[in-house]
Point group: C2
Chain length 416, copies 2
């Protein structure tokens, strides 16, 4: 079985200035063509550490992905180091120079410097992967039967090279097995209770199919992962087990795929040909952002009124000022009125309204930080729920959005 | 010098189902007390791979952080494996059992199972770090002079243990040097041109201070990083160099710290005691979310009208329907009218309005995917700009938000 490792290079990864999203994305792509990733390693812009990583990873795996350190500045040392490691000499790569020149002339519309020109130089022992989205060429090396790909750290430059060139290159070169994953999402049951429920099921799993539990945001995702040289047999096996698993957790099942909550809600609205809008205070537009981040959301999402300030709750959503005065902005009465005001003004089928205290400031004894009132409903009925999240501001906002969308999803499901 | 490595455990990291945010956060914390992170490694829930990682990392560094694999289900193998690796026996840890019991009785309000009880078992060769936010205890081990910390993978559980226990433990145990970083942000100049501008400056840097270039979203961050046993001398040195650097890039300087754009804009509004609101179409509430994600944003942020649907542009922002019909929703006229409508209705000092096509569908020859009109201004003047982003939907939304906020920031700066 062919397997891989991903080396990410950059001091910014080791001081925590940047979160590594490239590795997860590359891992997904490799998995989809049957190459499991055994390890991911991040090292700094440091000669010895990069060489050690190259030696260690190529000792354990067949394909090594390297991202980062290909920029035009002094802290980018990956390219000359790889040239030396693979025993080459630097040479100008004409097609890359043409692409870079084109970028400066047609897109940037500013003069190219000697430093930009040097980006077209590559080791003569590599095969170049053209960069159509930036200035640093990708490179492929071979050594002792191992394959190395060095790619820029800028995500969309790297992604285009993997999608357009490397995936087909690897698929053609190796006879790869199938790797399949099936994920479902549960809500309303803890990881331990789920595990107790699934004791007998787990004992029936064959050795090449694994079950994983991934708890987050009050939900638990269950993933079946299998590997086999025969894709059709594996597909039948894993589908059969996935149906069994789905039946076992049926009372808690929210989705039969690894979709984010906004996609689950959106698919439901799309199926029902219904529309939605949000009236948000404490979540400040995050629910609107999540709903509208799904391609095609315009079919069911009309818009939102983000009434962060109380004057907006009154002027734009019709919440009476005396009600806010009496009950407080974070109250069942106000959040219900926000939902009604939104339905009235936007004429959507459904509304989500939230008001709460996200912290770090603003809490009181009666309404501590993390208190959130959520209202969901339609013109016939609006239901409300009070939450108390105990996290930091960022996570309180996330929890508010996800729980509000889940409440909306459950409301719609119960009515249809 | 004491240094560290971070091992994250979990198949979900290697199939790309989860993005690792823990490592970046731990690295920041360690840096702040003078412990550089040399490497980060991710491995699956696999016995041999975990043992190999423990051996390799402890051969290179002094302190090893391990996160993940401590849950109550069969796929979580870290705890028994560490017990064996460090030569211990499992025993019940009474204080942890009390905390877990308390969680089930007081917070979850559901019966505790045998599986939950087992989470209070730890190897007798470890020192326990109590988990006040979850059920898996943290563990500290020592072997051959190296220190190991095993922590849960759930971010806020891990974070509380590091902040409340481990940081002071490490600071007391070792005589640590100072590590300082200073970052500034530039806009309107490319990485290569910046490097040309800074050639002479870079040659004056002492060996213990490094300059890094971090391009993203059309901006380039410049970071000076230094290490020294004498914090005061290092602080003076790096501050002096940082002032020189700031002067050299003054025409392009957007911020003198590593703040996100929404913080830069928010600080400016706070300083001027002015208010803002947003009228968003294609960005769907993402600008509102970013602005309101900053603690204390209620001092300057009033709210937003997210007019995803054209009927909302007319009903909630007063954009005449014939104008949308004639010019199209993605046009200079409409986006200007959206900004005016928002200023009129919300009575804020400033407004940001955006309308565009984020993709993957919806593009035309005249207005291809990625076309965005942005308007920013106040009641006296509104300026507009057309952008053409060439990325996927998610990144087009991000680019729209960041460029709109930068345009607003530059507008405010030019008027004050």
């Amino acid at each position: 079985m062919i397997n891989a490792s991903i080396i990410t290079i950059g001091d910014e990864l080791l001081i925590g200035q940047v979160i590594d999203t490239n590795s997860a994305w590359i891992a997904q792509q490799l998995n989809s063509i049957g190459i499991p990733v055994l390890r991911r390693v991040a090292v700094g812009d440091n000669r010895e550490d990069i060489i050690q990583a190259l030696n260690q990873e190529s000792a354990s795996v067949d394909v090594i992905f390297i991202t980062g350190g290909l920029g035009p500045t002094a802290d980018d040392i990956t390219k000359p180091l790889l040239c030396e490691y693979f025993g080459g000499k630097m040479m100008l790569h004409e097609p890359s120079l043409q692409l870079i020149t084109h970028r400066f002339e047609q897109i940037f519309k500013r003069p190219m410097t000697e430093r930009n020109r040097k980006q077209a130089e590559v080791p003569d022992c590599c095969q170049v992967i053209l960069n159509h989205n930036g200035t640093a060429p990708g490179m492929q090396f071979k050594k002792a039967g191992k394959l190395f790909f060095s790619l820029p750290g800028v995500p969309f430059e790297m992604m285009a090279m993997v999608e357009n060139d490397i995936i087909s290159l690897l698929s053609n070169q190796f006879n790869l097995p199938a790797i399949l994953h099936r994920t479902l999402i549960t809500h309303g049951i803890g990881e331990s209770n789920l595990a107790d429920l699934l004791v007998a099921f787990e004992t029936t799993l064959p050795a090449h199919i694994k079950l994983a539990y991934l708890p987050n945001h009050g939900m638990v995702r269950l993933r079946l992962s299998g590997t086999s040289i025969n894709e059709q047999i594996l597909c039948d096996e894993i589908d059969f087990l996935f149906r069994q698993l789905s039946d076992l957790v049926a009372p808690y099942l929210v989705a039969s795929s690894d979709a984010p909550t906004e996609k689950i809600l959106g698919d439901l609205l799309l199926k029902n040909q219904q529309t939605i809008g949000t009236a948000e205070s404490c979540s400040g537009g995050y629910i609107a952002h999540l709903i509208s981040s799904i391609p095609g959301a315009s079919a069911y999402y009309k818009g939102s009124i983000i009434s962060y300030d109380n004057t907006m709750k009154t002027a734009q959503l019709g919440v009476p000022a005396p009600m806010i005065e009496a009950a407080g902005a974070v109250s069942e009465a106000v959040v219900k009125k926000m939902a009604e005001g939104l339905l009235d003004r936007l004429q959507t089928d459904y509304a989500i309204a939230v008001s709460g205290i996200m912290g770090p400031g603003g809490g009181t004894d009666e309404k501590p930080v993390g208190t959130v009132w959520v209202a969901v409903g339609d013109k016939n009925e609006i239901i409300t729920k009070r939450f108390h999240f105990r996290f930091n501001r960022q996570r309180n906002i996330q929890q508010t959005a996800i729980n509000a969308m889940l409440l909306m999803r459950n409301y719609i499901t119960s009515k249809n």
